[in-house]
Amino acid sequence: MVKTRPDPIGATADDLAAVVALRELADRLEDAAVERAIAEGWSWVQVALALGVTRQAVHKKHLRRLGPVARGLRGHRG
């Protein structure tokens, strides 16, 4: 088989790079959107339902960084 030397900016490389960029975009959008939801008073269960994942999964990913935001909200409500 002939070894090809793929073009790093060819059409195929573009599609593969799009996968990388979309994944990164999804990660960043998740961070931003979950943060906004929690700040607006959504519960972890509601966020998990909206994301279609378990509550544990959301906790594992976001509780540590957004814990203070969520606790602050609870404090506000008394």
Binding site: R5, P6, P8, I9, A11, A13, D14, D15, A17, A18, V20, A21, L22, E24, L25, D27, R28, L29, D31, A32, E35, K61, H62, R64, R65, L66
Partner: protein, 223 residues
């Protein structure tokens, strides 16, 4: 600061500082893992020979960041995704400390190999130089003897008594051992990668990777 920290063990401490800077770049970019482009950004911002080489080529941190943003935009456009307004992506805190992604790991491993290789070729050059020096000495001794014979005197006096022992001492340079890599080794490794975000960003922004590698291999370029 980096200079102070790297006093004594430039390879090791310098690299640790650089890896911390790369992690910082990843955090600032909101990335879940540290990738080759974050190492490259840290290199471009570093006060090191590698950093100066990049800046001289027009690739300071800002230029590099613009190139990376251009690559991202083009990749998303390839699947019909327009850029999102930045405030939709704003998060006050990132999700934990980013781990080391595959491209960064590969770059660090290849950098270590590169360090091994450059050390070996430096040793080879040193050994060849020693050999040339010995040949030169031998030639001079022969000339001296010839001159003495011409004058009718007996040669063979001023010969060093333990030339061989001395030579063995010099030649015992040992095999090249994998040692600490330098920023230049890491830069070489990153620029040698032919596919992925970094080569795409450089190509799309009009930077010639091969020319950068040539500048890196050029001994005059080592400052």
């Amino acid at each position: 600061m980096a200079d102070h920290e790297s006093g004594g063990l430039p390879g090791v401490i310098g690299m640790r500082t650089l890896m911390m800077a790369a992690r910082r770049e990843a955090i600032d970019a909101g990335s879940r893992d540290v990738r080759a482009e974050h190492l490259l950004l840290a290199l471009a911002a570093s006060n090191s020979p590698a950093g100066r080489l990049l800046v001289d080529a027009g690739l300071d941190r800002n230029a590099l960041q613009a190139a990376l943003a251009g690559e991202r935009e083009r990749s998303l456009a390839a699947v019909g995704m327009p850029p999102l307004p930045p405030d939709r992506l704003r998060a006050t805190t990132s999700a934990g400390t980013p781990g080391w992604g595959a491209s960064a790991r590969d770059a660090l491993l290849a950098g270590r190999r590169q360090a091994h290789e450059s050390r070996r070729s430096a040793q080879l050059a040193r050994r060849l130089e020693q050999k040339a020096k010995r040949l030169d000495q031998t030639a001079r001794r022969f000339e001296e003897s010839a001159r003495l014979i011409e004058r009718g005197e007996r040669p063979g006096r001023g010969r060093p008594p333990h030339g061989r022992a001395q030579r063995n001492e010099q030649e015992r340079g040992g095999l090249a051992r994998p040692g600490p890599m330098s920023e230049l080794d890491l830069l070489h490794a990153i620029l040698s990668t032919e596919l992925g975000t970094v080569p795409r960003a450089l190509a799309l922004a009009g930077f010639d990777r091969d020319a950068l590698l040539d500048a890196l291999d050029d001994p005059d370029g080592e400052r």
